[in-house]
Symmetry: C2
Subunit: 342 residues, 2 copies
C-alpha cells in the first residue's frame, strides 16, 4: 500500500513539489501545458492527496464526531443516516461513538473525539448525564458542537429535537377525543430533556380537556430496565384502572405491549396504547399501536447542517436556541387504515 505522493510526481516529471501542488489544484499561475502533464500523470498513477498531511497542515480533519447513547436503536441509527448524508455532501466524514447510556463513557468518548481532532461534535446525551460541565468547558473554548434529541437546556449551543411537547399533546388529546379518561404515562428517567417535554404535553392536554393530572398514573423507567410487566400490572391494579397507556419511547411502547399481552389485556378494546417510536415494524403490530413518529433523519440532517455552518463560519452567529421539528401522529384503525396528523 505504498501510495504515490506529490513528491513522486515531481520527481517523475522533473518539476518541483510546489509546481505539482499548484498544478493539481489548478492554480492560474501554472502553464496549461504543465498542468496537463501533471494532471494526466496524477490521473494515471491514481494519485490521491494524503488527508492526514492536509489535516496536519490545515489544523482541521474534515471529520465530525457523533456521540449517541447507542447505535442499535432505530431513532439514532436513522438520525445517523441523516447526519452522514449531509456530512458526505459537504466533504466531511463521520466518526460514531457510543456512550452506552453511561456518563463516564460519554465523557471519554467526547474526550477521545476531541483528541482525535474532529472538527465538531454532534451529541445526544446519555440518560445518566446530568452534569454537562465537560461540554461546557469545550464550548467555552469555542469548540463547535450541536446537541440533538436529548439536549441540555443549560448549554448555549444549537439544539435540534422533535417537537416532543406537541407530539405528546397531540397523542394525549387523541386518546381523550377517542373517549379515554384515565391515561397512564410511562416515561424514561425524569431528568432527560425529552421526558420533561413529553410530560408537559401530556399534562397540558389533560388540563385543556378538564381532566385531572394524577401523579399515580405516571411512571419513570430506567433505560436499562426491561421488566415492564410489574409496572403495568400495578397500574392496572388501580381502581378505576387506566383505560389508556401513553409511552414515551420505542422500547417502552413495545415493552408495554408485551406486558399487556402477557396479562391478557386486549388493545385497543380494553386499553388504548400510543407511543413515541421509530420502529419500522410498528405497522405490523397494527391495529394495536398508535404512534408518534419522530423525524429522525431530518433531525440528523439539520443537526449536521448546523454543525458544519458553525465550523465553517464561526463568526456568523448561528441560533443557539432549540429548533423543534414536528412529529406525526399515526393512528391505525382496526381495518388497517391509517390516519396521519402533523
Amino acid at each position: 500500500m505504498e501510495a504515490i505522493t506529490i513528491k513522486d510526481i515531481a520527481r517523475a516529471l522533473n518539476l518541483s513539489t510546489s509546481t505539482v501542488s499548484r498544478a493539481l489544484r489548478g492554480s492560474y499561475e501554472i502553464s496549461p501545458e504543465t498542468k496537463r502533464l501533471v494532471m494526466e500523470y496524477a490521473e494515471r498513477m491514481e494519485y490521491r492527496p494524503n488527508p492526514i498531511a492536509l489535516s496536519l497542515k490545515a489544523n482541521r480533519s474534515k471529520v465530525l464526531g457523533v456521540v449517541v447513547p447507542q447505535i442499535a436503536n432505530h431513532f439514532f441509527s436513522q438520525a445517523i443516516n441523516g447526519i452522514e448524508a449531509i456530512a458526505y455532501n459537504r466533504g466531511y466524514h463521520v466518526i460514531i461513538m457510543q456512550s452506552h447510556e453511561n456518563y463516564e463513557r460519554e465523557a471519554i468518548a467526547v474526550q477521545q473525539a476531541v483528541s482525535r481532532k474532529v472538527d465538531g461534535l454532534l451529541l445526544s446525551l446519555s440518560s445518566q448525564t446530568v452534569d454537562v460541565s465537560h461540554l461546557q468547558t469545550l464550548h467555552d473554548k469555542q469548540f463547535p458542537m450541536v446537541l440533538f434529541d436529548r439536549v441540555a437546556p443549560s448549554l448555549n449551543v444549537p439544539k435540534i429535537t422533535a417537537d416532543n411537547y406537541e407530539g405528546a399533546f397531540a397523542a394525549t388529546e387523541h386518546l381523550i377525543r377517542t373517549g379515554r379518561r384515565r391515561i397512564a404515562h410511562i416515561s424514561i428517567p425524569a431528568h432527560v430533556s425529552i421526558t420533561q417535554e413529553r410530560l408537559a404535553g401530556y399534562r397540558d392536554a389533560l388540563q385543556k380537556h378538564g381532566l385531572p393530572y394524577d401523579e399515580t398514573l405516571v411512571r419513570h423507567m430506567g433505560l436499562g430496565q426491561h421488566e415492564m410487566a410489574p409496572v403495568v400490572r400495578e397500574l392496572l391494579g388501580q381502581s378505576p384502572p387506566p383505560d389508556a397507556f401513553f409511552t414515551a419511547s420505542d422500547r417502552l411502547a413495545l415493552g408495554c405491549m408485551e406486558a399487556l399481552r402477557l396479562l391478557g389485556v386486549r388493545i385497543p378494546e380494553q386499553v388504548a396504547l400510543v407511543g413515541f417510536t421509530n420502529v419500522t415494524v410498528a405497522h405490523l403490530l397494527a391495529p394495536a399501536l398508535t404512534t408518534i413518529e419522530q423525524p429522525a433523519i431530518e433531525i440528523g440532517q439539520l443537526a449536521a447542517e448546523r454543525l458544519i455552518d458553525l465550523i465553517e463560519r464561526p463568526q456568523h452567529k448561528t441560533t443557539t436556541g432549540v429548533q423543534k421539528l414536528p412529529t406525526r401522529l399515526v393512528v391505525r384503525a382496526s381495518t388497517g387504515s391509517v390516519t396521519v396528523a402533523e
Copy 2:
C-alpha cells in the same frame, strides 16, 4: 481550541522538543528529574499528543473502516457494536460508511476509506455487488481487509459469517419435525453469499427427511422490494398450498408476517413461520415466529480481531478461510415458553 504541543512544553521548560518527546514516552535515557518535570507540566496543561501528526509520521491512522449495506438494521448495528468494542480496546477508532445496497456507493465508500488512510477495512457486501475487482485490487496491494456476513468466495481474505447452512438446516428440520411438509422459502437475491448457504441448508434438510425440493416454493426478493403480499398470496394459491414459510431475513420474516395477517392466514395454525432475524421485538410477536438468531455481536468482534491481527502482524499468516459462528434456533410456543437449540 488552540491545543498545547510538545513545542510549547519545550519552550516553557527550556528543553528541546526531542527531550520532551522522550520524557513523555518514558525513555530510559532521560534523567528522572527531567522526566518528572515534563510529565507534571504536561499533566497540568492537559497535553494530548496530536494523533494526526502521529499518523503522518507512522504512516498509519489507527482507524478501521467499516462498510456495511446500512446501519439502520439490527444485524449490522449489532455487528458494529462488536467491532467497536474490540477496536477501542485495541486502540483503534472506527469510521462507518454505508453502501445503501448499491455497488457504486460501495466502491466509493471503499475508495474514500482508503484515501482517508484507514489501516484496514471491514466489509459486508451490498446485495448488488457481484464484481469484487475493486476489492481484489486492494487485496493485491496487501491492504488488510476482512469480510463478514455477506462475503465473496473468490476473495482470499478472512471471512466471518454465521453458520447459515446449519441455521437453515436446523430451521427447516424443525418445521419438518413439527409436521410441516410443504415449506416455502423466501430469500434475498440469489447471488448473495448467504442466500446460497441458506438455500443449501433448506434443500439438504428436505432431502434428509425424504421431502422433494420444489422450485416453485422458492422465491427471491430484491432487497429494496417491500411488497411481499403478492408473492405470499401467489405461493398460497398453489395446490396444495405451503403449510410453512421459511424466510431468509429480518425484513422478509416481518413482511411475510404482515402479508399473512392481511390475507387472514393464522400463524402457526394454518402456516408456520420461521425466519432469520435480528429484530429484538421478535419475541413480541410470539407465538407467531420462530427465529434463527445470528451472533451478530460476536461476528463483529471476531472480524475486528482478525483485521487488527492482520494489520499488526502482516507476516503472520492469518487463516483466510471462512469462519462460521453457530446460530441459535429459538422456538416459541403458544404458552410463551421458549426453547433454544444451538
